[in-house]
Amino acid sequence: MDPNVRRQILLDNYQHPTGHGLKEDSSYIKINTNNESCIDNLDIMYKIKDGRIEDICFDGEACAISTSATSIMIQKLIGKNKEEAQRILDNYEAMLDEREYDKELLEELNAYDEIYKQPNRKKCALLPFESLRKIINKL
């Protein structure tokens, strides 16, 4: 990905993230995600209906990488069922681990395709997906 395009995607999603702000709605499942580095701290809420992710929202304090990744993840996951969400998760992880993955499927998540060069930031990019891992079996 062109570095300028990448930066613009990340910056847009960091400064104007999708799904920012938690909802007072008990039909959401709330998951707190603490980065192992013990700094980033996000609450991510999922609404699941009929086996699909109907909505996701989040709030918390996190770095530009975690926040933007959460925003893009939300855009990618809304409307997805278990198999679709799992495919996105698997391919995203494969990309971060420098394995073969489906580039087309990940779309804007490709913006993190060079994050492996900064191992300490890989955790940040993975952070929102830790929450997906926790709810995926509820789909």
């Binding site: 930066r7 910056l11 013990c38 700094i39 980033d40 304090e61 770095c63 990488i65 933007s68 930031r121």
Partner: protein
């Protein structure tokens, strides 16, 4: 000061290391002392009857005397080597307090303590019903008045860092020590951020237990010190049992422990580490702890004066006289700032600095922390300022 003594700055002259609160660089003499042990006289301590083993004993026990002098204590047997300040505090809590406190007794700490001076107490509270109470902070600081207000007949322990690791404020330890003495309260002091940077006198300060780590004072990782008054250490139940600490034992379960301090140093100690610590103490005393303190305070003043002029820099501990600066770039997450500074080879710490409940007091969860040491320079600060002045480009660098 003395920058030329540190190999790392020769290897990497562009390195600006501002994370001394986390750990410090090591002067060549310290590294050499460790290499010497491993290449010239490796042997176990307290065991052998051969020359190099005796040499190890002399070196190892010699460091105990150096520590004693460093903290102005009278007896070497009141100095116990541990794996670090964390281990020292855990020994105090689970080897001593557990057997000398009863349910309902109160322990006073603060919300700006390091995790290692909070979690053991919380754990002991859950286990045996002691009560952990937090001394209210006055503009982030501990005042003797607030300590006095919290003390009652149930107060049995006050456990505080002499200097905190987030804001670097120094507590009124001498006054608190006096208060503890008058009221029969055990006084535990975490010296991790103070012993490396200033003169400390455990006698004058009425400290019952003191914990600190070698690696924050130019020494190697994996070594620390537990100081305790003899009559207290005598009653500290060893939390680690094994070789080197027992005098006799039999199959009936009769065990007799050795005297202090060996009783509290089970297993083969970190001999190389202790020797490295000794060399670090020699070095620090030669440079002079007062000189080091003065240098750090001067660096901070110089830095604050320049950082204050940058509009989007928020500083949280401007007026605290020490060598630590807690700051953020406005509206930028601390970790992003640290990654940005790293691009210019400037090492700072981002996060909550293991003081996770301090945020309840300062309303800021995460900060960037600069912590100076003797080898830092005004030129390094100039570079920091230059980089922060152009931080509107931060996301071009970070993303």
């Amino acid at each position: 000061m003395n920058r030329e003594d540190f190999e790392i700055f020769k290897q990497d002259p562009s390195l600006i290391y501002f994370d001394n609160g986390a750990t410090t660089q090591k002067p060549k003499v310290v590294v050499d002392s460790i290499v010497d042990y491993y290449t010239k006289y490796t042997a176990n301590a307290h065991r052998g009857d051969y020359d190099i083993s005796l040499k190890v004993d002399m070196a190892y026990e010699g460091v105990r005397d150096k520590v004693k002098e460093l903290i102005h204590n009278k007896k070497s047997k009141e100095i116990v080597f541990t794996s670090g300040a964390t281990a020292s505090i855990n020994m105090i809590v689970f080897g001593f307090m557990k057997y000398h406190l009863t349910s309902g007794d109160e322990v006073l700490i603060t919300k700006s303590e390091h995790a290692s001076n909070i979690l053991p107490w919380i754990d002991l509270a859950k286990e045996m019903g002691i009560i952990v109470r937090y001394i209210p902070l006055e503009n982030h600081l501990v005042t003797i008045e607030n300590v006095e207000k919290m003390v009652n007949e149930r107060t049995k322990v006050i456990s505080l860092a002499q200097v905190t690791n987030v804001l670097g404020d120094e507590r009124p330890i001498e006054k608190i020590g006096k208060l503890c003495k008058e009221n029969g309260i055990y006084f535990v002091v975490d010296g991790s951020q103070s012993v490396p940077h200033m003169e400390i006198d455990v006698q004058k300060l009425n400290i019952d237990f003191l914990a600190f780590s070698a690696h924050k004072m130019l020494g190697p990782t994996g070594v620390g010190v537990l100081y305790g008054r003899e009559e207290l250490l005598e009653n500290l139940k060893p939390t680690s049992l094994g070789g080197g600490m027992n005098a006799t034992f039999d199959s009936e379960g009769r065990i007799e422990y050795k005297s202090l301090p060996s009783r509290l140093e089970a297993g083969t100690p970190n001999i190389a580490g202790v020797i490295g610590l000794g060399s670090a103490i020699d070095y620090l005393l030669k440079v002079g702890l007062n000189n080091i303190h003065r240098h750090e305070v001067e660096l901070k003043k110089y830095a604050i004066q320049k950082l204050e002029k940058i509009p989007n820099i928020v500083i949280y501990n401007k007026d605290i006289e020490n060598g630590m600066i807690a700051f953020n770039i406005d509206k930028v997450f601390s970790q992003d700032t640290a990654v940005y500074l790293n691009h210019y080879h400037i090492c700072v710490r981002a996060g909550n600095h293991c003081a996770k409940i301090l945020k309840e007091d300062i309303q800021v969860k995460n900060t960037c922390r600069i912590s100076f040491y003797l080898y830092n320079t005004k030129e390094e600060i100039d570079e920091l300022v230059r980089v922060l002045e152009q931080s509107e480009d931060i996301f071009k660098i970070v993303l």
